[in-house]
Amino acid sequence: MPTALAALEEAYARRAAPRPPASPASSEGLAGTRTPVVGYVGADMPVELLTAAGVSAFRLTGDPESGSALGDRYLGRGVDPMARSVLTRLLDGAFGDLDHVVVSHDCEASLRLFYALRELRRVEPGTRLPEVYLVDILHLPHRTTARYNRRRIGEFAARLEAWTGRPLDLAGAVAAHDERRRLLAAVAELRRAVPARLTGRQFLAVADPGLPVDEHIALLERLLAEAGRLEEHTGRRVFLSGSDHDTPHVYEAVESEGYVIVGEDHSFGGPQPDRPVGAGGLDALAEHYHHSGPTAHRATAGERAAHAARAVRQCRAEVFVAYSRIADEAPAWDFPAQRAALDVPAVLLERQEYGRADLTALRKEHPCAV
């Protein structure tokens, strides 16, 4: 039997691959109907609702190696190449037979992706794209926004019930996702240990293996039980800030030079506060996602700087690296305030290509003895 870490890394390697046909619904459900398969995009997706609906759901990711010609065409080269790659893969059928795509408004690239999918279905039906739905969660810290989010969360819940033909099990789903949050927070401590017991690359796999939440929970419990057998990683400790990383390419590039990434603030790692949703139904869920983050695209530079200072101390990071991908410029605006708030060296890697890390600036400022 492989270790839990190996199982998680294996799942991570095949996530977002074409799914096998979903099993028929249980006898309590609509007999003979297929469980809807939902691909979702964006950090603000209330995944508890997807679980509560009983759909088969997974986050869509790009691939820097497979080209993005169709995405470039439809979205334009001013949009984050991660979104262009996701659109390309959708059009290529790389995610298998999806029934729905759900997009959150976590960043401009996701919103543009939603608009492109909506319009392609309208004007080029030959692309045979699935139905697309937007969950418009916003983030200004005001009651007006909170009320709007609650309305949108409610609309999404109703839409899911219409898709599946059955009521949501929200309490059970929230409890499961809260348990996963609790376990992931415990696993994150393994990486924060000195020396780190997980690399950043490994943590990406642990955090987002693309498994159903119950399977993920079981593997996280096993991983914690096996923690004593994990290797020690003594490289120079890096906190990675900025653009999302839906693939391990940049992590591998940084860690191949003798660094170990012990924390990050993007949505494929661990930017979310560890607090649970708890009880409270849709109201609590709306509040949870209203206050999620702080992500580069929706938080202010001041919020990002304060978070960076806390996180760097918590991770005992020795170097702060801000990564800003070309056409994903928000992180570059955060950097001056982040640098000023930190008491460790800070480097900005700006205008980086998707899936690449030009480490010249990092090597120059902070040579790492391998």
């Binding site: 004007v123 739905y133 007006t144 202010t300």
Partner: protein, 415 residues
């Protein structure tokens, strides 16, 4: 190449703008509160409360026209921020960092007390929030919400059926944000908000834009075109920044009458007009001569830009609840110009209305939906050429663009 303007209303608008700005500087020097507003936020509230304000994009266009955008972007870069991102607002932010602000255009932009901008995109809110950390400056952000499903024919629905076009969720949100904005302004400036004055302002805006609609329709049906966009842009946009005033309403009327007179007397931007061109995108502020460059050699006239057209179709809102009507003016404003199907179908409608022969589409690096615009126009039979540049950052404008457009005119539009 310098642009040549010929309309009396354009000259008057330019003169008024200089006098207004000088007066604004005096008012601010006397201690009145000063607000800097992004173009797509409801200026009407500030008009109602008589709070002096300037528009971020107007200032950026002035800086670019004076060939000074590089200077302000350098100031942004010196603070450690990117100089290649959201330049339209970053240029204006650079004003806040200028050690010699009085050396700026027209004596320089006064230091604002209040900034209002919407959270469109990933960077706009950050730019203004950074400015809001300057001493004495408060940033009031507005949300930028989105909708799942929209009716395509927004230009038919907006004047009276805007609830159907925009949708109640976005309208409830922005209406509430605007009610809070009024309270914030009352508290921080001591000014009062008069409901009757607000209704007057809203009525004046509708009157102004109705005149712009008549002007747009007149230009659309007249061959050869009575004027090009170099004349229409100042005649519509400078009053736009003063909307809700009698001056703006009246000059919109005189703009129509002046165009009407040109039509009646057979005056034309290019008497030997061979092609009517559409410009999609923001104004190329650092090279307004671009738009007249192709008239003499090719008889090609830019008869359309979004500025008059969006004034005609994008602003008019009638209804009994003025705050909700104001929210309806701006809750989906960006979508009208940049989000398919609204943007793409509207451009096709306008191209047909104006008898367009070719479309020049300025595509900047910020994420806008250019493919669907070009696709819709080409599917409707309008040839499109895309040029890639930022409209205030002259560093991005390639030397080859003019030559490329010339070849396209010869080989495609006039072939």
């Amino acid at each position: 190449m310098r642009s040549v303007k010929s309309l009396a209303t354009a000259a008057e608008a330019g003169r008024h703008q200089r006098e207004w700005f000088a007066d604004l500087r005096r008012r601010v020097a006397d201690g009145e509160p000063f607000a800097l507003l992004n173009a797509d936020v409801p200026h009407e509230i500030f008009r109602t409360m008589d709070i002096p304000y300037a528009v971020s994009q107007w200032w950026a266009s002035l800086v670019a026209a004076k060939q000074r955008s590089g200077h302000y972007l350098e100031l942004v870069r010196q603070r450690g921020y990117p100089d290649y991102s959201e330049q339209y607002n970053a240029v204006t932010l650079g004003s806040a960092f200028d050690p010699e602000p009085e050396a700026g255009p027209w004596g320089g932009l006064p230091k604002p007390d209040i900034i209002v901008g919407d959270a469109t995109g990933d960077v706009t809110r950050k730019v203004f929030d950074i400015w809001g950390h300057e001493p004495g400056v408060t940033f009031y952000p507005l949300e930028s919400a989105a909708e799942n499903e929209v009716p395509v024919n927004w230009w038919e629905l907006m004047p009276h059926r805007w609830e159907q076009a925009v949708g109640p969720a976005r309208l409830d949100l922005l209406t509430a944000e605007l009610e809070n904005l009024v309270r914030f302004l009352e508290t921080t400036t001591g000014r009062r908000f008069s409901e009757s004055r607000f209704r007057e302002v809203m009525a004046l805006v509708n009157e102004q834009e109705e005149w712009n609609r008549k002007t747009r329709d007149l230009i659309a049906r007249t061959r050869p075109a009575p004027l090009g966009v170099v004349d229409s842009i100042p005649s519509v946009m400078l009053p736009q920044w003063h909307r809700g005033t009698e001056w703006a309403r009246d000059i919109a009327k005189r703009f129509y009458e002046e165009v009407r007179e040109r039509v009646d007397t057979g005056q034309a931007a290019c008497p030997d007009e061979r092609a009517r061109l559409m410009w999609i995108g923001r104004g190329l502020w650092y090279d307004m001569g671009f738009y007249q460059r192709f008239q003499d050699e090719y008889g090609a006239v830019f008869v359309w830009s979004m500025y008059l057209a969006i004034a005609a179709d994008g602003y008019i809102r009638y209804g009994d609840d003025p705050m909700r009507a104001l929210a309806a003016r701006f809750a989906a404003f960006t979508d009208q110009l940049y989000t398919p199907p609204w943007s793409s179908e509207w451009y096709v409608k306008e191209a047909r209305l104006h008898g367009i022969d070719g479309v020049v589409h300025l595509v900047s690096d910020d994420p806008r939906g250019s493919y669907f615009t070009a696709r819709a126009l080409e599917a409707a039979g309008f040839p499109v050429i895309e040029i890639h540049a930022d409209n205030v950052d002259a560093r991005t404008f390639g030397d080859e663009v003019v030559e490329r457009v010339g070849r396209w005119l010869e080989n495609v539009v006039l072939a």
